[in-house]
Amino acid sequence: MFNDLGRMGKYLGQAARMLVGMPDYDTYVEHMQSKHPDQPVMSYEDFFRERQEARYGGGKGRPVRCC
């Protein structure tokens, strides 16, 4: 049961973070390790900063929200 609760908690945390556009770090790490094992993996802090920059205006400048 605690396994289930733990998974639900993780899932809700993911959902809450995606509300503000922060993707899942573990997914990123897994992706890097399986697809690009030779490349360095960003730390959580760097990942967080990079994603924050990207959301609000790192070049493409697409509006992120409606009226």
């Binding site: 959902a15 995606m18 503000v20 959580y44 924050q52 400048g61």
Partner: protein
Amino acid sequence: MTRLVSRLAWLALAVLGALALGVVALRRGEPINALWIVVASTAIYLVAYRYYSLFIATRVMQLDPRRATPAVLNNDGLDFVPTNQHVLFGHHFAAIAGAGPLVGPVLAAQMGYLPGTLWLIAGVVLAGAVQDFLVLCISTRRNARSLGDMVREEMGQIPGTIALFGCFLIMVIILAVLALIVVKALAHSPWGMFTVMATIPIAMFMGLYMRYIRPGRIGEISLIGIVLLLASIWLGGAISTDPYWSGVFTFTGVQITWMLIGYGFVAAVLPVWLILAPRDYLSTFLKIGTIAALAIGIVILSPELKMPALTQFIDGTGPVWKGALFPFLFITIACGAVSGFHALIASGTTPKLLANETQARYIGYGGMLMESMVAIMAMVAASVIEPGVYFAMNSPPAIVGADTASVAAAVSHWGFAITPEALEGVARDIGETTILARAGGAPTLAVGIAQILHQVLPGEDTMAFWYHFAILFEALFILTAVDAGTRAGRFMLQDLLGNFVPALRRTDSWGANVLATAGCVALWGYLLYQGVVDPLGGINTLWPLFGISNQMLAGIALMLCSVVLIKMKRQRYVWVTLLPAFWLLICTTAASLIKLFDPNPAVGFLALAKKYAVALDAGQVLAPAKDLGQMQNVIMNAYTNAGLSVLFLVVVFSILFYALKVGRAAWIVEERTDKETPFQAIPGA
């Protein structure tokens, strides 16, 4: 057998929805319970989702579960990440649901609850959700391209640039209107002003904390932030009763305008992690929480609607905004029914995260339906307050006077009985000195929310707390939108100007950035200032312009979808997008032409300019202008607004011209001519 049972259950739901809608539409004279509206809309939305969106998914677009989406193909764990559909629903919904579904219906309540409710229900099912869904689909099949890029690819370079220009125009107007709403809500309100100002140091603290002390802990810092916000609301209450401090935090509309313009410029230049991101987190969580609380409150309370189903203002003489039901009702309610801005979002980050294109139905169509539910809640909240209070709050002083006695008299004269004591009583209840001249939807909604939540969770002085909580939550996400929007506007401006002066396109150049930011802020700042000093009431003029521009963009998005459907040789289904596009074109064109050429100076911009110009030449000062300088203002504003209306017409008809040209050429060709990325199956599936 189970299929038959399932079909029967859906039929029963449809009948329930139709019955409830019948009660809402046909009951006159006696007040009805808000739950009829809630049940009608919920049932109809569920049925529409089950049948119409499925039809679009399977017959029209022929979505393929085996097809790999850009998230799968370009997976980088950062921008392109196949995301769980429920998590993505939340992300998309948080992006589309802003102030729009809350303000539009509140303003539309001027005509009674019925017209707005019917437009919300019909509009979202047939136009809004269709737009969101289809734009998401076609963007996903084009490697998550943006709307402007798709118009360029499918229709040509010139319409692409025109569409981008249209997007930029809307951006500027939205920013001005949102800022105006904040100004109207906070003018002469020390409590509100203090609480909103307090969000800046709170956000900075959160930003620094997340950057240096405990990097990346969103949940933790958001909780701390919310606690600090609640404390600031409480402190604001204490300040508003203190004679000295309440004076310090009382500002006029013009002062707040300058503060907002300055803030807009500074905030858009600062790094995102300092103020914008923390504020975004706070506003998103607060927004979702408050909407949920409002929905639960309405269901628990089952309040009665006090606003009548129809008021006399469907003829166009309304105080809050001028214009007859057609076309202006459809312009006033955008978000919640159909909003062009959503097309930008549906071709923004969401298509990069979509794991399977069949999920676009849930996220695109479903997400918009959910936003429409929020709009329905806002309509209910506005309709449960006394109509006399509603009109007192939203009518400009130029029409009803500036003190409670004359306002009460004017409003009662219209048939909405209210006494000056009642008006003062509401003001006291919410902890303000006055509720007059607080147009813009946000204060009205705040009163409605406060009354509902206060009845569900009663307590002394809690109504004032809830009112300021509601004002804070609206101001918070409006200011976030202003900040984020100015940045986005800056990129758009750099993009557009870069066509003529390539050096400006470089986003790494500090000079170009500051120039573009200043340009963007100057544009919305000018419209905002104009709206605030406009003696005829800024919301009165600016909201219809915003509505027209928004529906214009929706028309463009639906025209793009129609062209794509023809190019895909799905042309027998093109009516799915063509009918709503046609409707939107009629509405925006009629509205623009009326706003330009109507001989009534209260409606038509050119007539207004002429009336005041003639008076100015004769050296007269016409009320409500107070001196010759204000006369100039009125004339200048009227010409600016007329110019904007002309621009919209030009934009929408150019795109129509290209859409017809490209569509006709594609219609007669046998093969597909659309620019979809080729089919690739999901690897390893």
